[in-house]
């Protein structure tokens, strides 16, 4: 018998709103650029749209999870110890999903929405995808059901994971004690993840536990020496809600249509964002590599990097 569990995200909605209002109150005299009305409206509208999209497709995902659970390897059930284990393993699955979402354009097309704001505040946390189901993001949690964790349990801990990630989207909190920063994902670590500064690209994919980044070599600490710039490499430059939700899908469609040969069409979907068949664009690797090269040339490191092809999407 499955327990009747509440939705952690639905329960958290009032707290989301109160914390946002508190953050707005806090920044009004300290950093008047931290919030912008249109940006906030787009972020929150994307968040609301995401819950609608989730409601429309949630049933199908649950059905798939239940189907796979029928073939489970172990009968874990709802034992007390299974809850924390499920939480940790679900967070690992999130890390794998999130890393893939930044390295494979197909998944990036859905995830880019979350990064498309040039601001970093609590409203940015709610800027969520409308196309996660279409992008097949749910695949990454399916192994947990095959192991034997009940779908109800996994979706509950996944909800808690999502709620945890809300409060780390802020510049108000600087650093926690070292022991906390060592284990948990924090505002400092996640600011790095949202940064477009070359030194920070493709790092800190963690959901709740930063240990995954430390273990798999993707951890980069925040430095006080450089102001963080948020958003995506090629900023949207538009507050159009629909464009924010679908622009990368349009980009994929255009590239696939125009690409020469089947292999290149496929690569435009599965290669990292910014890949191009003729090398005319920049990916995070090329931007980061050029930045690293310039760091090794001290006389050049104070000025921006030299001429290059078009920026990555």
């Amino acid at each position: 018998m499955d327990p009747d569990l509440p939705s952690p995200t639905e329960l958290a909605v009032p707290a989301f709103i109160i914390l946002m209002l508190l953050e707005i109150w806090w920044v009004r005299r300290r950093d008047r650029l931290a919030y912008e009305p249109k940006d906030t409206l787009v972020s929150l509208a994307l968040g609301t749209g995401s819950t609608v999209a989730g409601a429309l497709t949630g049933g199908l995902v649950f059905l798939m999870a239940t189907g796979i659970y029928e073939y489970r390897l172990f009968d874990i059930g709802y034992a007390w110890w299974a809850w924390p284990v499920a939480f940790v393993l679900d967070d690992l699955a999130y890390y794998v999903f999130h890393r893939t979402a930044h390295r494979v354009r197909w998944f990036w097309a859905a995830h880019v929405i979350h990064h498309s704001s040039q601001h970093y505040n609590l409203s940015t946390a709610l800027r969520q995808t409308w196309t996660g189901f279409f992008a097949l993001g749910f695949l990454f949690r399916l192994p947990l059901f095959l192991i034997g964790f009940p779908p109800v349990m996994i979706f509950f801990v996944a909800g808690i994971n999502l709620v945890y990630q809300f409060w780390i989207h802020t510049e108000v909190i600087k650093r926690f004690p070292a022991w906390f920063e060592a284990v948990m994902n924090t505002p400092s670590h996640h600011r790095v993840h949202h940064a477009t500064n070359p030194r920070y690209l493709d790092s800190n994919y963690a959901g709740v536990f930063i240990i995954w980044d430390r273990m798999f070599g993707t951890f980069v600490p925040e430095t006080d020496d450089e102001k963080i710039r948020y958003g995506i490499v090629k900023q949207l430059g538009s507050f159009n809600l629909i464009w924010a939700a679908f622009h990368e899908w349009v980009g994929i469609a255009r590239d696939v249509w125009a690409a020469p040969g089947i292999a290149n069409k496929w690569r435009y979907m599965v290669k990292p964002p910014g890949w191009s068949h003729d090398g005319s664009r920049e990916s995070s690797e090329t931007i980061k590599a050029r930045w690293l090269a310039r760091q090794q040339q001290p006389h050049l490191s104070q000025s921006p990097d030299k001429a290059s092809p078009e920026p990555a999407e």
Binding site: L21, I24, L33, E36, P37, T40, A55, R229, G231, G237
Partner: protein, 126 residues
């Protein structure tokens, strides 16, 4: 789908956005041509501006690099966004303002307030 929750969420987001607007948060302008050059490097990877043309209201700039490429910078809420644009610069005059087309539908056109000297400089880019 919990329709009450959805309605409440929509009401809440409108309220939060209204509060942000009411407090006058998120207004920023370019202060100098040097700032525009610095921003262009941040906004367009590999772009190293050497000169710039600033709109009098600080809401936009054109930045040129050593190779003659031109970056169009516009204020975007409390931040800025940029695009490399084609040469000659696709600009037209409308009343007291100059309108530069980014060539990107959603990025749109950008308005410049220019004095005679600024307009002359823009014309040399066209």
């Amino acid at each position: 789908m919990d329709w009450k929750l959805l309605a409440g969420s929509i009401a809440a987001i409108l309220f939060v956005a209204w509060i942000v607007r009411l407090m006058g948060l998120g207004q920023r302008r370019l202060e100098s041509e040097a700032e525009a050059i610095s921003l262009s490097a941040d906004l367009i990877p590999g772009f190293e501006g050497v000169s710039s043309l600033l709109s009098a209201n600080g809401a936009a700039a054109l930045v040129m690099d050593q190779e003659g490429r031109i970056a169009l910078i516009k204020s975007h809420g409390a931040q800025f966004a940029g695009r490399l644009i084609a040469r000659p610069v696709p600009a037209r005059q409308q009343g007291d303002q100059w309108i530069v087309d980014s060539g990107d539908y959603f990025f749109g056109t950008v308005r410049f307030n220019l004095d005679k000297q600024g307009a002359d400089r823009l014309l040399t880019m066209m």
